[in-house]
């Protein structure tokens, strides 16, 4: 049977602006009224890299940076992800040709978009059939080991876009501030999958953070992963009503890991999974570090104070905590 496929443009990483973001860690596709994870159902994920040089970077350097980024995802603990480089291609990314292609592309119209990932998805089951990643030639790139002031680090952006290619959405773990031009500048972030890129010359995002690892382990769990990790469930309420869109941050005091998720329905229910077993401090915050419409298509309530769960919540090994209710107050 020929699969029904849909071409989906998604998930750009941007400079100083917000882009559409799928809630929490995973991309979803609506199949028969149900949201289904978008993921690869066959591995290794075979990909091509364009043979074109980009501003500041040769095609060989591009292949090297992408190779390092794929290795970083493959080495994520608790996840089972494999990539296979099939060779160079002259075909640009973004063509529906059955090939997953990564490379440079001229997109002067997207003056704040460093790169983006697009998908061909089997809409019967959410399987990714093809995914292409482009890096915008409007910017000057770098593969310098120490970073290069004034140039965008290609490996960091490749790592982010490969996260999308795997099916991860944007994370909301981050702090931003308004710029004089009306955009946003990252002050700090807790995930490679945060939607706004670090400043030019920064290379810290060549390393995955716990939030990224929890996400990829959820999509592609390694053997035994489901039994060795735990989850936290609960509900965020305001005046007794569920609070859609509240951002819940789970912090493990033992490991220092921070993993986030949203309350994703009108009952304010949330679930944070693939956590190392142990007690967590939960902090609920409004989405005030991004434009709300960038995350949710419906209006959400951001008029509430940052609130902590009344007690530490334990993620049990191989299971989930009993639901905890976190009551927030208006500002």
């Amino acid at each position: 049977m020929r699969p029904a496929v849909a071409w989906l443009l998604a998930c750009a990483v941007t400079v100083g602006a917000q882009s559409p973001v799928s809630a929490y860690l995973k991309l979803g596709s609506s199949i028969n009224g149900r949201i289904t994870d978008v993921s690869w159902q066959q591995q290794p994920i075979r990909y091509f890299v364009t043979e074109r040089d980009g501003p500041g970077v040769t095609a060989a350097e591009l292949r090297g940076a992408i190779g390092r980024a794929t290795a970083t995802w493959q080495n994520a603990s608790g996840a089972n992800v494999r990539f296979e480089f099939l060779g160079s291609t002259s075909a640009p990314p973004g063509e529906v040709d059955g090939r997953t292609t990564l490379g440079f592309l001229d997109r002067p119209d997207l003056d704040r978009v460093l790169g983006a990932t697009s998908f061909l998805i089997d809409t019967t089951n959410g399987a990714i059939v093809e995914a292409d990643v482009f890096f915008n030639t409007r910017f000057t790139w770098s593969v310098s080991a120490q970073g290069d002031a004034g140039r965008v680090d290609l490996e960091s952006v490749a790592l982010h876009e490969l996260g999308h290619l795997l099916g991860l959405g944007h994370s909301a773990l981050g702090e931003t501030e308004r710029t004089s031009t009306g955009g946003r500048r990252v002050v700090a972030s807790g995930a490679v999958m945060f939607p706004i890129a670090m400043t030019s010359g920064a290379i810290a995002d060549r390393t995955l953070q716990p939030d990224d690892i929890a996400g990829v382990a959820d999509l592609y769990p390694a053997a035994g992963q489901l039994d060795s990790t735990g989850g936290i469930t609960g509900r965020v309420t305001k005046n007794g009503q569920g609070l859609l869109g509240a951002h819940v941050v789970a912090f493990n005091p033992e490991t220092g890991a921070i993993v986030g998720n949203f309350a994703l329905n009108m009952d304010g229910e949330f679930a944070i999974v693939r956590l190392a077993p142990g007690p967590y401090v939960l902090r609920v915050e409004p989405l005030d570090d991004a434009d709300v419409e960038s995350y949710f298509s419906t209006a959400i309530d951001v008029d509430f104070r940052v609130t902590y769960a009344p007690r530490a919540v334990v993620a049990p090994r191989g299971g989930s905590s009993s639901p905890i209710e976190i009551k927030v107050q208006p500002k």
Binding site: G147, E175, A202, A204, V306
Partner: protein, 234 residues
């Protein structure tokens, strides 16, 4: 920690005082347990509070380099709060002055967490999570060859044990080890001649060291334990 140090010094001082005041009384016969017999004790115990770690939730800052300085989201300082529990001990008198014994204690301490350094929330304490804590230990009790009165005799004790702590809702178990040293007094209400059954009260003050269990750092913790028992010597 300063309070704990003062407490340990206080205990040692009390033992020295006991020894000093008893020196003049050694001529009289000291009360004793019966040799090669079992002594059973049961009572209440109190454990002092101790820290289990301070952690800071941080993000990467937007700065050049591979390891930019962290951005603090908040910090969480955790303690196991002081708690009262129950304890039972069974001993075997090897000699009139030396006994080996095993004990089991149970308590429900709370893990308290104080949140601070959050730019959007004032520092405050969370309600805390209640643990179920079991300690199974074995040790020795040496009755000092001193007599404070006709019915009272001091002792020193030491031992080691197994710690089992269950998180709230019993969803996760953490285990560790405990070591203790201390002393106390035994007060005979009946018996004490070493020839008949005896009955009395016993008070212990111990310094306890804990490894592992519920802790957010890889450190040994020290806290005081005070117990009061009724004992029966068979």
């Amino acid at each position: 920690m300063r309070c704990l140090g003062a407490w340990v010094l206080g205990c040692l001082g009390a033992l020295v005082l006991c020894a000093g005041s008893a020196a003049f009384a050694q001529n009289a016969e000291a009360p004793a347990l019966r040799k090669h017999r079992v002594t059973a004790s049961g009572g209440v115990t109190w454990s002092g509070s101790y820290p289990i770690g301070e952690a800071t939730a941080t993000y990467r800052t937007n700065a050049p380099g591979n390891t930019p300085p962290p951005f603090t989201l908040f910090s969480a300082a955790s303690t196991v709060d002081a708690v009262a529990g129950i304890e039972g001990r069974v001993g075997f008198t090897v000699t009139p002055d030396l006994a080996v014994e095993a004990g089991v204690s149970f308590a429900r301490p709370r893990v308290g967490i104080v949140i601070a350094s959050d730019a959007e929330v004032a520092p405050h304490a969370l309600e805390g999570e209640e643990l179920q804590q079991y300690i199974v230990d074995a040790g020795a009790v040496w009755q000092l060859p001193l007599r404070l009165s006709r019915r009272v005799r001091p002792f020193v004790t030491g031992g080691a044990g197994y710690l089992r702590q269950l998180h709230q809702e019993r969803t996760l178990v953490e285990t560790g080890q405990v070591y203790y040293a201390g002393g106390g007094l035994r007060y005979w209400l009946r018996g004490g001649s070493g020839a008949t059954r005896s009955f009395g009260l016993r008070a212990d003050a111990r310094a306890m060291w804990k490894r592992d269990g519920v802790d957010f750092e890889d450190r040994t913790r020290l806290f005081p334990v005070v117990s009061v028992f009724a004992f029966m010597g068979f």
